[in-house]
Structures are given as C-alpha cells and as structure tokens.
C-alpha cells in the first residue's frame, strides 16, 4: 500500500513516523487509519 521496502517501513516505525502497535504475540500491526494518515498528511 505504501510501495516501500520492508525495512523502510520498519525504519519509519523505529523513528516514530509511523505508529505501530504490537498484537498479542508481539507482531507489529499498523492500522488502516494510520496508513491513511501517513498518505494524506502534508
């Protein structure tokens, strides 16, 4: 959806530019709303 490399997405998460939460087993989840926010800002 973002058209980015795996590591670019993890990098955005690490730098706090993309908000992710951890699911029960520790897997990263990025909400649809957060993706929409990222693609609609600026």
């Amino acid at each position: 959806m973002l058209g980015l490399d795996y590591f670019t997405v993890y990098n955005l998460v690490q730098r706090g530019k993309l908000k992710a939460c951890r699911a029960l087993r520790g897997k990263f989840l990025i909400t649809r709303a957060e993706l929409d926010r990222l693609l609609n800002t600026e």
Binding site: M1, L2, G3, L4, D5, Y6, F7, T8, Y10, N11, V13, Q14, R15, G16, K17, R22, A23, R25, G26, K27, F28, L38, L39, N40, T41, E42
Partner: protein, 210 residues
C-alpha cells in the same frame, strides 16, 4: 539423554545450541519454510551492514578528502529544502537506495544519510522520494551511527519473524509450547547485533560537531 515432556532431546538444528525433541523438530520443519524469505532478507541485510561497518573508515576517508563539485545531487524536501551531493551508495534494494551524501552547510562540510525511495510509490507521492535520516560533520561517526540504527531496525524485524512463527505454530500445533522452536528459528537470523541492543525509543537525527 535429556528428555522433555517424555521425549528425547536429540535433534540439532543450525545455529541453535540446544537439541529439539521430535515434536519440536516437526514444528521447526513446518516453520522454516513459512519465514524463509524473511530470514533470507534479514541475513542479507545483516551481511550488508557488516560490510558497511568494515569499510566505514575507508569510505569516510574517501568522501572527506574527495571534491564533491561534479557529483550528482539530490534535493531533500523539507523546511528548508536542502541540496545534497551523492557521495557513496551504502545499500540498494528494489525499492530503495541508502546514500551517503554531503553538502556545504554554514561553511563546513556536512554529511547525511539519505534514503531515496521509489518516486512512483504512494508514500513518495505525498512525502517526496528522499528522506534525510541522519546528519553529522564526521562521516565515520555518522556511518557508525547509521549501522547501529539499522541494526536496531533489524531487531524489530527479527521480533516480527519470531511473532509470525509463534502465531503460525499455535494454529498448527495448539497444544504445544513453541518457545524453544521460536528461539531455534530466530537463531537462523545470523545477526552480529546483540538482541539487547533493541531500542524502544525511535532514533532521532544525529548531529555531531567535531
């Protein structure tokens, strides 16, 4: 022979110091192909980072002593926009390039790590196709910080691989404890970065003045 849950611990697997029981080994063999691509990507990235680290002194010396006048340049969107000369390609993938760049800033040479992403991607259409990740006045220190930062990103990726294994195995073998299998799969990620280096706080841009 050591037993666990009535089963002999007799199955060695790559990079993992313990031995798995027959049940664990079965789960392990189910999990390996499920995350094979992610593990490959992890190891490829870890190897590239080690190479960057090994060559960082030479790369820094080269970019510090070389004139940047005729090199290709790029513009980083932001406030204000900045123009950077591309000095060295740190790594390249299908959708992104990590570049060591430099510019003259307030009478000094400033270095920066810039990620150039696919300009056609939805992200680039909104945010631009360049992302200045960190800056510094010492190229060697900047490269060291870059490698450290990328290694902590790798640890996030590794945690996700472990979570995926745990999730898939819980679906296929709901009554088993998969903690040792998860650790054994994680051991296939041959990182040189210590796991405890994972940082919860997002990395900020680094500005070093020497």
């Amino acid at each position: 022979m050591l037993k666990r849950n009535g089963e002999d611990c007799e199955h060695p697997v790559p990079n993992y110091p313990g031995l798995l029981t027959a049940s664990e080994f079965k789960a392990y063999n189910v999990a390996v192909p499920l995350v094979a691509e992610e593990v490959r990507l992890f190891n490829e990235r870890a190897t590239t980072l080690s190479e960057i680290e090994k060559q960082s002194a030479g790369t820094a010396e080269q970019v510090t002593s070389q004139m940047a006048r005729d090199l290709p340049s790029l513009t980083v969107k932001g406030k204000p926009e900045s123009e950077w000369k591309i000095r060295h390609v740190l790594m390249k993938s299908a959708r992104s390039e990590m570049l060591l760049c430099s510019r003259d800033h307030e009478g000094e040479q400033q270095f920066g790590v810039v990620e150039k992403i696919d300009p056609k991607s939805p992200f680039a259409r909104v945010h631009g196709d360049t992302d200045l990740q960190m800056t510094g006045n010492n190229a060697f220190v900047l490269l060291q910080n870059y490698v450290e930062s990328e290694r902590s990103v790798l640890q996030l990726f590794r945690k996700d691989i472990e979570a995926t294994v745990e999730e898939k195995l819980s679906e296929k073998f709901p009554s088993q404890n998969h903690s040792r299998v998860v650790r054994a799969i994680s051991a296939r990620c041959e990182t040189q970065a210590p796991v405890e280096s994972e940082k919860e706080n997002p990395a900020k841009s680094v500005k070093i003045r020497m």
